[in-house]
Structures are given as structure tokens and as C-alpha cells.
């Protein structure tokens, strides 16, 4: 992204990581992307009772170029999927996606040909929020969990090492079809 990506690992990079994480989570501007009933709860979060401005997030940007977080609030139809992807592509990195509600997380009760079965088929999702629709506190809880994730994001050499670690871990992990748990 910038100079911070070229820093060598060590105390300096850790300090920059902490500061960048603090700055990024401190003013995480969401893009306006309400698709269905979850959007009503998202608006309630913007209102005075729950007041997302307490976390520096009150500015729902109409332009994806000014937004850092896409809250996918509602079911994504097959026809909406390319639009969603385009909005995601237009957002400037670093960017995050929050799948709000059952429908955007997995398709929810709409298990049919018209609805994308989980928005992670289209864009990478950072945090999943169950509920139909989730109450505003649930959205704030998910946002705070995302803030925690952002605060601990690694950069530069540390990030490359982390990616290598995750990759080798993923290669050893069993495939989803092999994860049977208690099933016979």
C-alpha cells in the first residue's frame, strides 16, 4: 500500500502496526449498502439510541471510494452480486466486509436459485453476524470484534510471514468434507 509495507520487521514495524491499527479502527467509515430488512437495524445503529458515532463510524459514505467497511445488510440476489463486487472493487484498500444477518452470511432461509448463498461467494468476508435481523447491539458487537481484528492486523514482513504460516497450516488441515465431528 505505501511506505509502511516496505518497513523491515522489528520494533519499528510493530509500533507502526499498532498505530495504523488504532488509526484504522478509530475512523472506520461504512459504505451505505442496505439491501433488505437488516438495513433498518443498520440505520437504527446510526440513530441516537445506539449511536455508532461513539466509535467514529457515523458517516455512512454514499461513495465507495471514501468507505473502509462494507456492511452487507440483507439478502444478495444473483442480479445484485456483480453490483456488490463492483462496489467492493471501487473501495480503496485497506477495506473490510461485514456480512450482516443470516441471508448475507449464508443465504439464510432463502435456499433458492435467486439468492447468493453467502456473500463470501462474491467478496472476502471478515466477520459474519448471525440473526434475522440482528438487533443493533449484535451489529455493534460484530463491529467491535472487527475493530479488534483490525487492531491486530499485521503489515509488511510480518504479514508475509503470517500468510506463509496460514498457508502451510491450511495445507495440513483436513478438507471440509473430512471434518465430520460426531457424524458417522
Amino acid at each position: 500500500m505505501g511506505l509502511e509495507e516496505a518497513l523491515p520487521s522489528g520494533v519499528l514495524l510493530t509500533t507502526v502496526e499498532n498505530f495504523a491499527g488504532y488509526a484504522r479502527k478509530g475512523s472506520l467509515w461504512p459504505a451505505t449498502f442496505g439491501l433488505a430488512c437488516c438495513a433498518i437495524e443498520m440505520m437504527a445503529v446510526g440513530g441516537p439510541r445506539f449511536d455508532i458515532a461513539r466509535f467514529g463510524m457515523e458517516v455512512f459514505r454514499a461513495s465507495p471510494r471514501q468507505a473502509d467497511l462494507m456492511i452487507v445488510a440483507g439478502r444478495v440476489s444473483q442480479k445484485m452480486a456483480p453490483v456488490l463486487r463492483q462496489i467492493y472493487d471501487q473501495m480503496a484498500a485497506p477495506k473490510w466486509v461485514l456480512a450482516m444477518g443470516a441471508c448475507s452470511s449464508s443465504g439464510g432461509m432463502f435456499n433458492n436459485y435467486a439468492i447468493v448463498q453467502g456473500v463470501d461467494h462474491v467478496v472476502p468476508v471478515d466477520i459474519y453476524l448471525p440473526g434475522c435481523p440482528p438487533r443493533p447491539e449484535m451489529l455493534i458487537d460484530a463491529i467491535l470484534k472487527l475493530h479488534d481484528q483490525i487492531q491486530h492486523t499485521k503489515m509488511g514482513a510480518n504479514r508475509r510471514a503470517q500468510i506463509a504460516d496460514l498457508e502451510s497450516e491450511a495445507l495440513l488441515a483436513p478438507a471440509t468434507v473430512e471434518m465430520k465431528g460426531l457424524l458417522r
Partner: protein, 178 residues
């Protein structure tokens, strides 16, 4: 007030708002002050009888009632050596996919033994799909004092009908040995 310019009168509204009660809920800090209503539909819970045996009989009625197909149940037979619930069968595998669940409560209405109820816990967000499929051990109610964790035998002398009639008050301590 009528002779004041309209622009100045507008500030009066702002000024009086300063003396009004603040409606904002300080959610993560003062969460205990704003609990959800007692009948709020939150995370599910698989209940136990007073002696610690599970109430779930593995009938799959919850899975049939579920409009989102979020519940998966696989029953199995109890045996005399390994007993999880009074009566014939118990729920061996119990999974609820919280990414599908719409918290409608039809599963609770369907449950014949009140094994499945809902808590008011709602902080469920997670960063991957696999962890949001809750297994039986995530959903089971805690073992309270006076209970013994399953598997163990029924209270000596009792049948499953005594359990369903709610005549069992607690574990006697003889269940594990018998």
C-alpha cells in the same frame, strides 16, 4: 418569540435539547443496564433434567419445524451401560447452523420435552463460517449443583414416565455406580 429572527430561534431547539435526558445506550460498557427482554430469541440451549440427564430424545421434530433447515439432529439408542437421556433414544449429534438460523422459535414450539429453549445471549458474531455451526457441547446447559453429567443411569426405581411427569428432583448419587 415571534419577533426573533427564525435563524436564532432554531438555536433555541438545540439549546433546550441539552437539558433533555440522553437516550443513547452505552452498549458495550453498560451492557448490563440494557438487557434484552426475558423472551428475546437468542442462542439455543439444550436443557437437562434435574439429575443431569439430557432432555433431548433425538426425535428431530425441531429439524423438521425449522424453516431455514438450520438444525441437524441424529438420534441414537440409549443402552444400559451408556445412558444420556431417560427412555429409549437420545440426540447423539445436534448441530445448529447460526448462519442459517432466523431465531423464529418454531423449533422451541416443536420440542415435545422442552429440551430446546432459547437463551437471551446474542453476541454470536465470528470471523469464519465453521465456528458458527454450534455442536451439542456448545448448546448443552451447564451441569448445575445436584446434577451429574450424562451418561449415567436413571434415578434408581424411576422410569422415563417419572421424568416426563417432572417427579425427579435431583441426582441421588447412586446413578453412576448402578
Amino acid at each position: 418569540m415571534a419577533e426573533l429572527p427564525q435563524a436564532v430561534r432554531g438555536f433555541g431547539v438545540t439549546f433546550t435539547t441539552m437539558f433533555k435526558k440522553v437516550v443513547t445506550e452505552q452498549y458495550p460498557e453498560d451492557a448490563a443496564k440494557y438487557p434484552p427482554k426475558p423472551r428475546f430469541h437468542g442462542r439455543h440451549q439444550l436443557n437437562r433434567w434435574a439429575d443431569g440427564l439430557e432432555k433431548c430424545v433425538g426425535c428431530e421434530l425441531c429439524a423438521w419445524a425449522c424453516p431455514a433447515d438450520a438444525i441437524f439432529v441424529e438420534g441414537a439408542d440409549n443402552s444400559d451401560t451408556e445412558r444420556f437421556s431417560p427412555g429409549e433414544r437420545y440426540g447423539r449429534v445436534y448441530q445448529i447452523n447460526y448462519l442459517r438460523c432466523i431465531f423464529c422459535g418454531l423449533c422451541i414450539e416443536a420440542c415435545p420435552t422442552r429440551a430446546l429453549t432459547m437463551t437471551t445471549e446474542f453476541e454470536l458474531a465470528d470471523n469464519n463460517r465453521a465456528d458458527l455451526i454450534y455442536e451439542k457441547h456448545d448448546l448443552l446447559a451447564p451441569v448445575l449443583p445436584g446434577m451429574i453429567a450424562a451418561p449415567h443411569a436413571m434415578v434408581p426405581g424411576a422410569t422415563e414416565k417419572d421424568y416426563y411427569a417432572n417427579k425427579i428432583t435431583g441426582a441421588t448419587g447412586d446413578e453412576v455406580t448402578s
